[in-house]
């Protein structure tokens, strides 16, 4: 018998600290599979955020740096400028990327920084126990929106791919989900396209992945998948928001 599916080399054989059914693990796996398929583990450096995925440096087999909250794109910029032949990716949650780190996100994107951002959007702060995130949906109940997110008070969620797609430095922006096997395969293709764009020097690439947080959403893992489909996917439509992977972003005034 031949092996049809096994753990990718770029994902170390250690148990993760994620809750049962949390799809962070799926996204880790996809990033690792792409690293394997592109044969880049030896020259890839990951930058991990503050939040649930803070300890991802223990899971990926490539070199990794743990950045201050929200600063992963700035840290990645330093790593990439120091050794441009390395492949540098950030792995960030919604609080990290779209709240405290908004400036770093927007400016690394508009600079066309040749890095890849894996943005995990689950609409909640997981590590601190389920508070409102910048991507928490209107009406969504969290620990700090106990009556549901009131947009009169807390404003509206940020649609990151849509926002970044207005910037000239963005080579690739796609939103995917990991709610089903077909969508997981599409997510992997998007991540591979984003890494490839970087390797070819095309500019900033981001893949936003809609992900679940069963624990803090208060659902079983299977219910969480359904909640993501019913609530997040209508608000955050899947698709390619920018694709300059052919021409790149240089001289893209």
């Amino acid at each position: 018998m031949a092996i049809v599916y096994q753990r990718p080399h770029a994902l170390l054989d250690v148990p993760t600290h994620y809750c049962p059914g949390c799809t962070h693990g799926v996204i880790h796996k996809l990033v690792a599979e792409v690293i394997d398929e592109l044969g880049i583990e030896g020259n890839t450096v990951g930058v991990v955020p503050v939040g649930c995925s803070v300890m991802a440096y223990d899971y990926f087999a490539c070199d990794a740096v743990e950045a201050p909250h929200g600063r992963a794109p700035a840290v990645a910029t330093g790593l990439k400028r120091a050794i441009p032949t390395n492949v540098v990716f950030t792995y960030q949650g919604d609080g990290d990327l779209a709240a405290i780190g908004t400036a770093e996100t927007v400016h690394s994107a508009t600079r066309g920084e040749n890095i890849t951002v894996i943005f995990v959007n689950n609409g909640i702060y997981g590590m601190t126990g389920g508070q409102m995130a910048p991507t928490t949906l209107p009406g969504q109940v969290t620990q700090t929106t106990p009556y549901g997110r009131d947009t009169d008070i807390a404003g509206y969620p940020i649609r990151v791919c849509e926002m970044l797609s207005t910037l000239s430095g963005v080579a690739y922006a796609e939103r995917v989900a990991v709610d089903s096997v077909p969508n997981i395969k599409k997510a992997k293709a998007a991540i591979k396209k984003a890494f490839t764009a970087q390797i070819e020097g095309k500019g900033f690439s981001i893949v936003e992945v809609l992900s679940t947080c069963p624990t803090n959403w208060g659902f079983t893992p299977v219910e969480a998948i359904q909640w993501l489909r019913d609530n997040m996917m209508p608000y955050y439509p899947l698709g390619v928001y920018m694709d300059r992977t052919e021409e790149g972003v240089k001289h893209n005034a």
Binding site: M55, V65, A67, P68, T77, G78, A82, H107
Partner: protein, 356 residues
């Protein structure tokens, strides 16, 4: 810039040129008066040598770009002035907690808040006590001439690499803006092997390297911090530096650093001309602090006077070093109001009983 040739240079530009000559090819900055010439100079020179000059979106981003570049194992630096250093303090803490080397330049201006844009020394506490949150120190160098700024940039990079920690040049607006003749020494840049920790890609030849400051196990965190503090003890024993001027027979010892030490020196010369036995101790490193030099002087001197461009910050360290053996007084002005030699002379005379 040719070596061993005397040139007239502005302090900020000399700092920048020295950094390049010390092997720093990665600069991440953000404009703020009175240090902006550092960034401007870097933006002019870096493209010519294939280096990186990047104007970040904020001081916060700039220090984190330094964190990234330092993680990759290259010499990296940033430069700012007081309000900007406050913004960098988060990154400085992470860099210290990740055992990364880098250089941070603070061309101080008056504070607190937006304060003013004139020279000041009111970030002494910040630099030596709390450059960021947590149990940590950074190396702090205090130059008093443009030449010393150049020399200390080399030393700062070297010791930052040697001890794997951030180093700071604590200058002020006066040193940053003034021009003096300077010689760029033909210094051999000492390099360090960073392969055991740098996140520069493992090339399938070693286990992955991790640059990190997170230790969720409290005992592990304590072990890391204690390990760092053992290193700090070595640094305290080996790297504290001070210049002594006419201290041997001094009854009064003035302690001053940076630009203020130049003013103090003029006042001391005037006092000596009048027969007053006064000398100067000029700390060249503020962390580690040259406490031993001051403690030794306290065995013979009858009094100490600290002069600063602040409300009195370094005076704390002078008092700790003197340890009650003699009275320690303070004279100073805050941001932009530069003490005059006449004022300092008058303080000296007050403390030594006036004209003899």
């Amino acid at each position: 810039m040719a070596s061993n040739q005397k040139v007239l240079m502005k302090g900020n530009e000399a700092l920048a040129e020295a950094a390049i000559q010390a092997g720093c090819h990665h600069f991440f900055g953000y404009p703020i008066t009175p240090q902006t010439e550092v960034a401007a100079y870097m933006s002019k020179r870096m493209p010519k040598i294939g280096g990186t000059y990047l104007q970040a979106e904020s001081e916060v981003a700039a220090i984190n770009m330094v964190l990234g570049a330092a993680s990759a194992g290259v010499r990296a630096m940033t430069s700012s002035s007081s309000p900007g250093i406050s913004l960098k303090s988060e990154g400085i803490s992470y860099i210290a907690g990740s055992d990364l080397p880098c250089l941070i330049i603070n061309v101080q201006r008056g504070g607190p808040g937006l304060g003013g844009i004139q020279p000041s020394q009111s970030d002494y506490w910040q630099a030596t006590r709390a450059p960021g949150h947590g149990d940590l120190h950074i190396l702090v160098f205090a130059p008093s001439t443009i030449q010393e700024m150049v020399d200390m940039v080399f030393d700062a990079f070297e010791n930052a690499d040697r001890y794997r920690m951030p180093a700071m040049i604590l200058a002020d607006g006066m040193l940053g803006q003034m021009m003096e003749p300077v010689v760029f020494p033909e210094k051999k840049v000492v390099t360090f092997d960073k392969e055991s920790w740098a996140t520069n890609g493992h090339k399938n030849q070693r286990p992955h390297n991790i640059v990190n400051s997170l230790y969720l196990q409290a005992t592990e965190l304590e072990r890391k911090v204690k390990e760092r503090f053992e290193r700090y003890e070595v640094i305290k024993a080996k790297e504290a530096r001070a210049e002594e001027y006419l201290v041997d027979d001094a009854e009064l010892v003035v302690v001053a650093y940076g630009a203020t030490s130049r003013i103090a020196r003029s006042a001391i010369n005037s006092a000596r001309a009048k027969g007053v036995k006064v000398g100067l101790i000029r700390p060249q490193t503020l962390w580690p602090y040259p406490s031993a030099v001051i403690a030794k002087a306290a065995q013979t001197a009858k009094a100490f006077l600290t002069v600063e461009m602040s409300m009195g910050q370094m005076v704390d360290d002078v008092r700790l070093a003197v340890n009650g053996k003699a009275p320690v007084s303070f004279f100073g002005h805050t941001g932009g109001v530069i003490p005059t030699p006449a004022e300092v002379l008058s303080e000296i005379e007050k403390l030594t009983g006036g004209d003899r």
